[in-house]
Amino acid sequence: MPVDVRLPTVLRSQAGGQSTVSLDASTIGEVLSGLVAQYPGMSGQLLNDDGTLHRFVNVYVNDDDVRYLSALDTPVKDGDEVSILPAVAGG
């Protein structure tokens, strides 16, 4: 299923300046591993060593934060918009 993935500003330079990339995936996990396969430099910013979602990244399918759905197992279908934004935190 082709899905559009909106990249956060901080990762766009690694995708040749593109703000949106299109790739084939059926789950959020496949979206992220697809991104990393195409742009290996993004790996450390999107995923932990154990393959789970990095805590300082938010991933959304349309309007929903995948952490409230099925995280990396969240399904994506044709035409869904996946958005990746920083999880902004401090103290």
Partner: protein, 140 residues
């Protein structure tokens, strides 16, 4: 340099005071390069803590989309320190998400709020001046 209208400045400080006793946070949108902030998005602190803040993820998405609809970009984040100075903590420095952003600290430790702004690049903190403009600017 960070430039913002007095309305935006007051909105930011009011949100921080309203958030007490916890830290409050929000996003600024505008032109990253020029440092002119046009819109303030007060956001929920999902950490609900007097020591930590986490911009609620739904508020983040809403702000990002609204900024884009108005031809602006998210260009910074503000948050309050309830008992410490308006200077980025080690946590703030380690977790700064974007080297192009402006990082605004609002200290509520004294009677009057203190607002200071910084750039954080590769762990290095540089203070910048905050200029409050007399006139209200409309977004878009």
């Amino acid at each position: 340099m960070l430039r913002l209208s007095k309305d935006l400045y007051l909105q930011m400080v009011a949100h921080c005071i309203t958030g007490l006793p916890d830290e409050a946070c929000g996003l600024l949108a505008g032109d990253t390069a020029s440092g002119e902030a046009g819109v303030c998005y007060p956001t929920k602190n999902a950490a609900a803590s007097a020591k930590l803040y986490l911009v609620d993820s739904k508020d983040m998405l809403r702000a990002d989309r609204d900024a884009e609809d108005h031809g602006l970009a998210i260009m910074g984040v503000f948050h309050s320190h309830t008992h410490t100075d308006a200077y980025p903590s080690p946590t703030d420095i380690n977790q700064a998400p974007d080297p192009d952003w402006h990082y605004v600290l609002v200290s509520l430790r004294d009677t009057h709020p203190v607002v200071r702004s910084y750039r954080i690049v590769d762990g290095r903190v540089t203070e910048e001046s905050v200029v409050v403009l007399a006139h209200t600017r409309q977004a878009g």
